[in-house]
Amino acid sequence: MRILIVEDEYTLREQLAERLRAEGYAVDATGSGKEGEYLGLEYPIDAAIVDLGLPDQAGDAVIETWRQKQRDFPVLILTARGRWEDKVAGLEIGADDYLVKPFHNEELLARLRALLRRASGWSQSEIRCGAIKMELGSKRVLVDDQELDLTALEYKVLEYLMLHADDVVSKSELTEHLYEDDAERDSNVLEVIIGRLRKKLDPDRTLVPIETIRGQGYRFCFTRDSEEA
């Protein structure tokens, strides 16, 4: 999952980026509204965190531009202005949620997870495909109620695939959303990870959850279960 942070205060930006990376997100961070606008338009962003009070270009103008150009990834507004007048204005220009500074990191993460989930059409914090259940908050994966032991990278790949269950996800799409820099990208690593995931999810080769579509990419092929309350 690739997150864009547009926040002009250097320290806060770095804290946020560090925390999000620690949570396994790929992070693009900038202090400039113009650069943020460009990144949002040109990069495969999954969600953006935007501070409204930017020095060169107002945050709301950035969001408006994204929306006008059909970039519909979820946007979380970060601002010091806590009046409802400001909140409503921010949500009306196309933001999806709103957080008033100062905030708890945990709250920010919870909101971000909820936004990502909603953007992929899931509305609960647990997503379930057949026997495989993923708890997004605690980052646990269970198969037939048995918890799997996954590395961070394995979890990230599986999370992306499950959130986009039934869609074909290309290798380049996966790497773009998982890594910040091109240098890290290596399709062999991805193949190894997919192979390991297949073993861990399906040791007996009865479920076959991850399909390889030749020349196109991978597909998590369990249809979404109706969500539990």
Binding site: E9, T11, L12, Q15, L16, E18, R19, G53, T79, A80, R81, G82, R83, W84, E85, D86, K87, V88, L91, E92, D96, D97, Y98, V100, K101, P102, F103, H104, N105, E107, A110, A114, R117, R118, S123
Partner: protein, 448 residues
């Protein structure tokens, strides 16, 4: 005397009455003088007539006048009298009208002199009397003879004339006064009409039916109305500028707060970091609360009326978006004519915070109802089907910055802000009805 109209009407009427009063007194006096002159002229004419008719050469035992050209002198008690006396006072001739009247004639006058007197007759009649004396040097007489010719007229004629004049004078003046006063009043209401319409427009602004003065006014008023419009606009701009300044202040305080909190949260748990986090929390709530308080615009006489329905719709849309993951059913029922006589930001703050609070607690449903009650009272109900507020917690909830349940996200000062806004800024009332079926937050604001 508080009204300009009464003042002008009063002073104009005073001037009018004084003027007409003085004029009538002066006219009356002038007329009496001229009436008196005409009495004198009439009597003088009668004397000349008698001199012409008299035969002064007639012997002492014969009548001086044989035939009278004026018949009124021949009718007894007619009011017109005359006589001719010799120097020593012997009557040489008396008009027949004098019969039984016996006026108290004044003593004879010097030769060639005219003398007007007010005399009284034995009958009580008041008379004007004019006397003239002549010296006659007749043909057959060798020494000149003095005659005094006296003519009288009843004062009644004079008084009648004066009375008639006065009656007509007063009648006309009264009619004139009434006409002038009516014209004056019409004039005033025409002249002051622009003032009255300014008054109406200002009242419309006060009652929130309008937000600026739009009419065309005479040059004396345009600077006033222009200034008033500027003042209203300035007021609004000021509020906006003030809020922007508060927003900037919030930004510059809260960003460092956010950094500090993130720093402490990421550090290893120590009791000192806990204390610092606690203090940061306090600082944050205080800043948040005070900034909200400061940004409240309140009820202004000059603020335009605000239709409540669109504001509620916008808030509901925002709530649906922010609480999308809860899959709540957020419904809105607003009286179409409901008006809020205050600031839009304040109304959003009230409904937004109550709605947000309900959304956090609701199980499935939140309803925002707004109704206009009689005598300009606005009632806002925000209902949820949550677990209700435990007994005794309501007070804590409403206290400044208190937070009932830390597990529910948010700053926890929303309700305190609403209470401050409703009760202190708009002098309204905030109440809660709660059971384990749900909670209704009810705001009542009286705009009368």
């Amino acid at each position: 005397m508080r009204s300009l109209r009464t003042r002008i009407l009063f002073s104009a009427s005073l001037v009018l009455v004084t003027f007409l009063g003085c004029a009538s007194v002066l006219l009356d006096r002038a007329f009496r003088e001229s009436a008196l002159n005409s009495v004198e002229d009439r009597l003088r004419g009668r004397i000349f007539m008698l001199i012409g008719a008299a035969d002064f050469d007639a012997p002492g035992d014969q009548s001086l006048i044989d035939s009278l050209p004026d018949p009124s002198l021949s009718i007894p008690g007619s009011g017109n009298y005359a006589r001719i006396v010799s120097r020593n006072g012997d009557a040489r001739w008396e008009s027949r009208s004098l019969l039984g009247i016996e006026p108290d004639f004044p003593p004879p006058v010097e030769t060639g002199q005219w003398q007007l007197d007010h005399i009284r007759a034995a009958t009580g009649e008041k008379l004007f009397s004019l006397a003239y004396s002549i010296i006659w040097e007749g043909a057959g007489v060798n020494h000149p003879i003095h005659f005094v010719i006296q003519a009288c007229e009843n004062r009644r004629f004079y008084l009648d004339t004066v009375g008639r004049f006065r009656r007509s004078l007063w009648l006309w003046f009264a009619a004139l006064s009434v006409t002038l006063l009516v014209v004056q009043a019409l004039n005033l209401s025409w002249g002051l009409r622009p003032l009255r319409s300014v008054e109406d427009e200002v009242r419309a602004i006060e009652q929130g039916r309008s937000n600026q003065i739009v009419g065309e006014y005479p040059s004396e008023l345009t600077s006033l109305t222009r200034n008033l419009n500027t003042l209203i606009a300035h007021n609004r701009e000021n509020l906006q500028r003030y809020r922007n300044a508060l927003g900037d202040l919030a930004h510059s305080i809260k960003t460092p707060l956010a950094i500090l909190r993130n720093q402490f949260e990421s550090e290893e748990k120590k009791s000192s970091t806990d204390t610092m986090l606690e203090q940061l929390e306090r600082l944050d709530r205080t800043v948040e609360y005070q900034l909200h308080r400061a940004a409240a615009a309140g009820r202004s006489l000059l603020s335009p009326p605000l239709a409540v329905a669109p504001v509620v719709e916008r808030i509901a849309d925002s709530l649906r978006k922010v609480h999308a993951h809860r899959e709540l059913e957020i419904t809105v029922a607003v009286d179409p004519g409901a008006l809020f006589l205050g600031d839009e930001g304040d109304l959003m703050e009230i409904i937004g915070n109550l709605g947000d609070n309900s959304c956090k607690w609701a199980r499935q449903r939140v309803e925002i109802r707004v109704s206009s009650l009689p005598v300009r009272t606005l009632q806002i109900d925000v209902a949820d089907d949550g677990p209700g507020i435990p007994n005794g917690q309501l007070d804590v909830l409403l206290k400044r910055g208190a937070k009932l349940d830390h597990s529910v996200e948010g700053h926890g000062i929303g309700l305190a802000i609403v209470r401050e806004m409703v009760e202190d800024v708009y002098q309204g009332h905030l109440g809660f009805e709660t059971s384990n079926e749900g909670t209704v937050a009810r705001v009542k604001i009286d705009f009368a």
